[in-house]
Symmetry: C2
Subunit: 249 residues, 2 copies
């Protein structure tokens, strides 16, 4: 049996054109890159998009949490390392470590992926990929797992609406996972991100939104962070929790 | 004198996560990559962001036109090659060729970059970078140069508005160049892109938009293509022309 590469790594370089207003990697772009390296690693392990599609199955991203000491800066080279923390017939927990070329650890991320059948939308049976269990590695990911996000019953403090258009749609004809993150970040002002560091971000994907859907994006600041819901006619699309801390500089 | 690399090339791979609904590279993402390779090449030639910034100057993207036989497809590796077609004290014409690993030419792009002083917003004097003239190469870029885009005086057929938020802002605290492209693409419906191929796209950047600005995005279908203007209180931010042709498949 060939040894599978249980730790997958991809190097990125943050160009000026890719920076956000704080001259850092934008959190939405980080989520996009997390999905990219996860997808690549799944391909390498033989459980990628194409392997699952042959049985009409698909990986669905259920949760992402990341917690960073700092974001990659302009002109910085950094690596995203990923590995599987646990795996069973229906879902896998995949972790990430973000580090600079000098070995400085910028932070970690956790994600949960569920395999479903594209037609029935029911959990897929991944018994045929049982070999994945042998790729699980015991590597530290010292950030808390994502808890249940409970949106307060009170009227939200910030409310916006958005209608999904052509540029928001991904290959499955759902809204791009990173786009929700941008809508959530957009609930705060530019000055909030100038003054604060988005230390921890959690998102729980509940239901897919589609082209033309108009969603409500509602947020409330609580002792537990900024809690945001994206919903469509009362149905929850996703929930999120953002923890911002004052920047030192 | 060291020979400067007059042709710069960067390889890209289109992952599933990056695809649009047509399983292709999204045009907004192509513009982002065009800007990326242009920026990289400018850095290599010693006229990048940092070199200009030391004199408080900055490159401003004035125009991009691209014309593609087809877009890179999912799981395809492609290269963006770039070179300078002409250069003078105030601006440079930079071209691009998009080709697959097998050497199939997917298309070409043209761009015009102007250097301005960040404080005065007046054209910068780039005399000190005169060595750039020696990097100009004579390489075919067989697509028409961008002409003047004239918006019809009549009432536009498609009108939307959009307010720029946190995730739309770039490192210069202006709206990201690719974001305008997305707003322009969003003027049409998803089915328009399913049925048609965006063969040629032109954008002329006239003025910067900022965080919090609300813009009108207005389009009219003419014999000359779909003409779109993004404007803010009557001031033109950018103009665009899109040529769509029926897909063969």
């Amino acid at each position: 049996m060939t040894q599978l590469p249980n730790l997958h790594s991809r190097k990125y370089y943050l160009t000026a054109a890719q920076c956000n207003a704080q001259h850092e990697l934008a959190p939405g772009q980080l989520i996009q890159q997390i999905i990219e390296v996860a997808t690549e690693h799944a391909d390498i392990l033989g459980v990628g998009f194409r392997a699952l599609q042959s049985n009409d199955n698909i990986w669905v991203l259920s949760r992402i949490t990341f917690e960073l000491n700092r974001y990659p800066k302009m002109f910085e080279t950094y690596s995203l390392n990923t590995w599987i923390e646990s795996y069973n017939r229906h879902f896998s927990e995949r972790n990430f470590e973000l580090r600079t070329e000098d070995g400085e650890i910028l932070g970690y991320a956790r994600s949960i992926w569920v395999a479903i059948n594209q037609q029935t939308r029911r959990p897929a049976d991944l018994t045929e990929f049982a070999h994945l269990a042998t790729t699980v590695i015991d590597r530290p990911c010292p950030i808390d797992k994502q808890g249940k996000i409970r949106i307060p019953a009170e009227e939200p403090q910030i409310a916006n609406s958005y209608t999904f258009r052509v540029s928001d749609i991904d290959l499955n004809r759902h809204v791009n996972s990173a786009r929700y993150v941008e809508l959530i970040l957009n609930q705060l002002e530019l000055s909030d991100y100038d003054e604060n560091h988005l230390k921890r971000f959690e998102i729980e994907y509940k239901q897919e939104a589609h082209y033309g859907n108009t969603v409500d994006v509602t947020s409330t600041q609580t002792d537990n962070g900024l809690l945001t819901a994206i919903s469509n006619n009362g149905g929850t699309i996703c929930l999120s929790r953002s923890i911002l801390v004052k920047r030192n500089n």
